[in-house]
Symmetry: C3
Subunit: 247 residues, 3 copies
């Protein structure tokens, strides 16, 4: 039994969108400390790890740890029904996940079936990253668009205090260079120069739900999975994405 209340339903929508961009279904783990979800995408190329602490809720009643498996596409749709100015209460009732949107003059209650979610080995990979880059989510999204004009794969290379982005395809090649600057790239830490290539489509989904003014942190090691993390208010979202290695 749990009952969680969030004062702005749209905030919870942003959180679920960040998870749902990669994952069709997942199990929220609800404990006294907060709500978390870890899952791999169906292809096994990426994983997401989400956590929101209890303090983000205006009411947080959790008797005991509970797992709530849900179809996330469906959940995102239901959350999209809010036009703002609504509170959201989430609770369980008769093996249903209940979402109650409370507006000034209306009350809307959705009951969603809980589903069995296949338990994944949700261990995060242990990687000693060689370089860390902090950049604005908008700039990151722009980079991905630039690269996508040439290829569906995007290469990153960090060397000293320079981030290079590369993409190469039948229609041509892109090379883009960024140094640290207040507007777009906040920090480049390169203990060692590192480079790796990733699927652009997955990366777009990963950062797609990041608030437009948020800071994305990208962790790289040559030809190893990339770690990407960012915050949505008090919630933290973290992804791993396997590199693309040309065979």
């Amino acid at each position: 039994m749990f009952e969680l209340k969030i004062d702005d339903a749209r905030y919870w929508k942003s959180c679920v969108e960040a998870i749902g961009s990669l994952i069709d279904e997942g199990a929220f783990n609800i404990t006294k400390e907060g709500v978390s979800l870890k899952a791999m995408d169906p292809s096994g190329i990426s994983m997401v790890s989400f956590f929101i602490p209890n303090k983000a809720f205006s009411k947080y009643d959790v008797e005991k740890e509970t797992n709530v498996g849900l179809n996330l596409d469906n959940l995102v749709k239901v959350l999209s029904s809010t036009a703002g100015n609504e509170q959201l209460v989430m609770k369980d009732s008769n093996n249903r996940f209940v979402l109650e949107f409370i507006g000034q003059n209306s009350k809307r209650k959705y009951r969603l079936p809980m589903i069995e979610v296949r338990k994944e080995p949700e261990k995060e990979p242990k990687i000693e990253f060689e370089s860390n880059i902090e950049l604005k989510s908008d700039s990151f999204k722009e980079m991905l668009k630039h690269a996508n004009l040439m290829s569906s794969y995007i290469g990153f290379k960090v060397e000293k205090s320079m981030l290079s982005v590369m993409a190469k395809g039948d229609t041509g090649e892109l090379e883009e260079e960024y140094s640290v600057n207040g507007d777009m790239v906040k920090k480049i830490e390169a203990g060692k120069s590192s480079s790796a290539t990733f699927n652009e489509d997955y990366l777009s989904k990963i950062v797609g739900a990041a608030p437009s003014d948020s800071i994305i942190v990208m962790h790289l090691k040559t030809d190893e999975p990339m770690k990407v993390d960012y915050k949505i208010g008090d919630a933290s979202v973290l992804y791993y994405l396997a590199p693309y290695i040309e065979s």
Copy 2:
């Protein structure tokens, strides 16, 4: 022979859109009193009854009663060509329906073929409705969207001074409750509690052309057709929609 002039072509466009959302073709009945159109949609599930009085026109010359059968899709398209600031003259000429858009420096004349429209038994059903609800068209449209997330059928229930909306499908259930409040629901009159279920798609088309600040009046009787009516300026639009009864 008739010649009708309307000062804002866009106003007539709104009127025809309200009819054309459900009906592909129809016959306007033009009399000295005004212009009316009654028709059933091709599936026979809904009917529309439209009337606009002569006073809505800045010129209204009608020699004798005339019927003008038109393809309404086509008529809506032609009316969509106005970007505003145009007067509209409508007349008949050589068995054509002529629309003349008169702008400050231009004149645009469309001639549309009149078509034979199958005469329908256009009697409005006689129902003693049990409850009447007045609500803002925007709120109505929102309700339909909320319900559509769960099902393509939407149930209404009126009991005392409470309107409930329900939808139930494979992906979950919705229950929504409204009491009278200044913003959304203006009036709930329930002589007797009543409930019925309708096709959401038809309802969306019915209210789709209602001006966003207009008041929709919904008349219900348990498991009987719903009557919906609203005004577009001086014109009145009225629909009947058959209920969906689970077999």
Copy 3:
């Protein structure tokens, strides 16, 4: 070897869009005087002739005349990657066409393959036009939309100081009349009355990239190709379009 610099990358984008709307690939002819491109569209119904003088560039280094064949779809896409506030340097390097977008804190370099472009007999037709019309590009685009409701062919007729537009199809007929007026039609010169009919789709592509406040000049002769020209800043764009003659 050449190196051209333009201070606003978006300006060059507008120029290439005007060419690329009709033509998939073409060869830019780069001389000391400026950059030009002449090509017929694949169907042979229209031709475009583009010229931009060297003064439009902030840097213009051209050693000797060069032809650069490019896929224009691809070029437009790459140019669309600029969100503004970027300079653009274009040069050749190792048989590649290089576009360098230079922002305040970033540098983005695309390398596009040069392609062999079939040489066309690019002679402009010699026609003694009977009438010239100058009108605002927005008004021209509106006319095309009005006509397209009735037919995919649009007829123009110029007689004395009146421009008539006609379109006729299964769903009806359009007749539109314009006289000279400050807002839309700037000038109508009719030495002789002339009329011709054209494919609306081609005309839409021809004026599609014209800046919204630009003046389109249309040259007509009965049943002969139409010439259309307009300016994009210092660049001039000129099209010929073959008439449609009912067989």
